[in-house]
Amino acid sequence: MSLAFLALALVCVVTASAAMISRNLIHSALLLVLTWIGLAGLYLWAGADFVGFSQAIVYVGGVSMVVLFAVLLTRRQRDEPLVLIPEAGVGRVVAGLAATFWVAALLVPAMVVAPLVQRAGPGPTLTVKRIGELLAGPHLVAVLVVGVILTVSLIGALYLAAPVTAEDQPEWDNGGTGRDRGNQEEPS
């Protein structure tokens, strides 16, 4: 196993563990970004340039922003402590164990079956055109399904986040026109 692989794996594991342990959510998010950079490095090590750089653009450039935005918008105080609910009910434990089981059932067989590459070989030299042909040809169904899933999740997020009734609407939002502010009646 090459030194580069070990170093990259160490970066991924250490930053991911630190992200889990850290009590500061922003630190966790930034450490998670480091993990993603390490994963992109692993792809590069394996010779998959396109996937590696795409991983960096999508996760380091895009997903990280969404994560940070979510953290900043949901926490009222920057030092608000993480509230751990002391009485862990039976349902909670069962749900946690079930989730762990399913993730392990997916990942462990895959890890056992897949052969561990001992060194970075000459990776498959795929041109962008070939990747495009593969995505639009044999893997078209997968691309479409992923697109539908993303659209559905986007619509779901909008439905959850959008104010439904007048009471849900924040006081400062007077319909988005931005006019007549201050002429309205005092909100009761």
Partner: protein, 404 residues
């Protein structure tokens, strides 16, 4: 630098940088060549762009001054030529203040990571016929992957300062990045589509030659290319936090935003990173749209390729400064509306336009005129329709004064 064999037919100036590199490498033992070559490339890039940064600050102050009808810095050295070095000494000798409640590690890490991330994109830019630090098959992707993380550093700076203005700046920087990353990348896709490659050297090579002997095959000189170039430059302005998109550091409302709690050399590092990022994006624009190091006319090739690249790069940077002196700052809602309702639809339509251009590459004679007309219409019509419908009723503003 890549070790390509140098054709003997080229002029002395064209190959002079390569010969200088080989002469320097000759002083070292053979076993060290691979690392010495890389270190040399890094040293040349950092040195050249560092010096360019120094004089770009002076050029910016001078140009802004002249545009605002004042002389600008003119006391230090000959006509102000030593001003950048005086600024450097001042920045280095200033006290480095870190707020007591700041997140010390992130506060120190932010400017360093910002400068590093702004610099590494330069590695894949072909500065001349033989001058590219590393040749990658996925160079365009690499460039944008490197640039994608810069706003993360701005967020780190804003959050770690523990200052409400800085945090507001961090939020604005995030919103701006999410909005403008999309049109920036979408405006690059047509070039990749038509050139059929992600390699920067191949993209520049595809723009060589002239149609009818005088019309360069640069992408900017096609209808879809011109549209993509404009979209790219607008998005690049926003990505590098330059005016009129400098909302994260708006000095009049956020007291310089994420820069509020920085002083001394860390403050200077932020400026350095801004200019490096601006130069890297401009260099990418030159590579993708303006023909890279290609000369505009055949007989002008007597000047070496890197001179042409530098001329185009400096012209774009001067454009950045001119825009800063001309336009007022946008509001945050105007900023996001411009991105999502105007730039993204235009970029998507432009993608279809480039696909049409790529499919009709074989047309000739009168069909060539049809090709140009259709492509031009596919840019102009959506532009007019979109701008009419989006910005109708928004201006001009009517001012009513109290009767005297």
């Amino acid at each position: 630098m890549t070790t390509t064999s140098v054709p003997s037919s080229e002029s002395w100036l064209e190959v002079a940088p390569l010969q200088a590199r080989d002469a320097l490498l000759g002083l070292l033992p053979e076993s060290l060549h691979w690392i010495a070559s890389s270190v040399l490339a890094i040293a040349v890039l950092v040195g050249a762009f560092g010096l360019m940064f120094a004089y770009l600050t002076l050029a910016e102050r001078k140009l802004l001054g002249r545009i605002q009808n004042r002389p600008g810095p003119n006391r230090t050295g000959w006509a102000g030529l030593l001003q950048p070095f005086a600024d450097a000494v001042k920045a280095l000798t200033k006290e480095d203040i870190v707020p007591r409640d700041a997140d010390k590690v992130l506060h120190a890490l932010a400017p360093v990571s910002l400068v590093a991330l702004s610099l590494i994109g330069l590695a894949v830019i072909p500065f001349g016929r033989h001058l590219v630090a590393i040749e990658l098959d996925a160079a365009v992707l690499y460039f944008f992957a490197a640039g994608a993380a810069t706003e993360l550093s701005i967020f780190m700076a804003g959050w770690a300062s523990r200052n409400k203005y800085s945090l507001l700046a961090a939020m604005r920087a995030l919103a701006q990045l999410i909005s403008y990353e999309v049109p920036l990348l979408l405006s690059v896709v047509p070039v990749v589509l038509v050139a059929g490659t992600l390699s920067t050297t191949a993209i520049v090579a595809a723009q060589g030659g002239w149609a009818a002997g005088f019309w360069p095959h640069w992408h900017v000189l096609t209808p879809w290319g011109f549209s993509a170039f404009c979209l790219f430059m607008i998005a690049a302005l926003a990505e590098s936090n330059r005016s009129p998109f400098d909302l994260p550091e708006a000095e009049s409302e956020l007291i310089a935003g994420h820069l509020t709690e920085y002083s001394g050399f860390k403050y200077a590092l932020f400026f350095m990173a801004e200019y490096f990022g601006m130069a890297a994006l401009s260099a990418m624009a030159v590579t993708l749209f303006l023909g890279g190091w290609q000369a505009p006319l055949g007989w002008l090739e007597v000047l070496p390729s890197y001179v042409w690249f530098a001329a185009k790069l400096l012209a774009l940077l001067a454009g950045f400064i001119w825009i800063r002196a001309t336009f007022p700052r946008l509001r945050i809602d105007q900023l996001t509306r411009l991105a999502w309702k105007f730039l993204v639809p235009m970029a998507l339509l432009n993608l279809a336009n480039a696909a049409f251009w790529s499919l009709t590459a074989g047309w000739s004679g009168p069909l060539q005129a049809v090709r140009w007309a259709v492509s031009l219409a596919a840019v102009v019509v959506p532009f007019l329709l979109l701008s009419r419908s989006l910005f109708s009723g928004l201006g001009p503003r009517v001012y009513r004064y109290a009767p005297s």
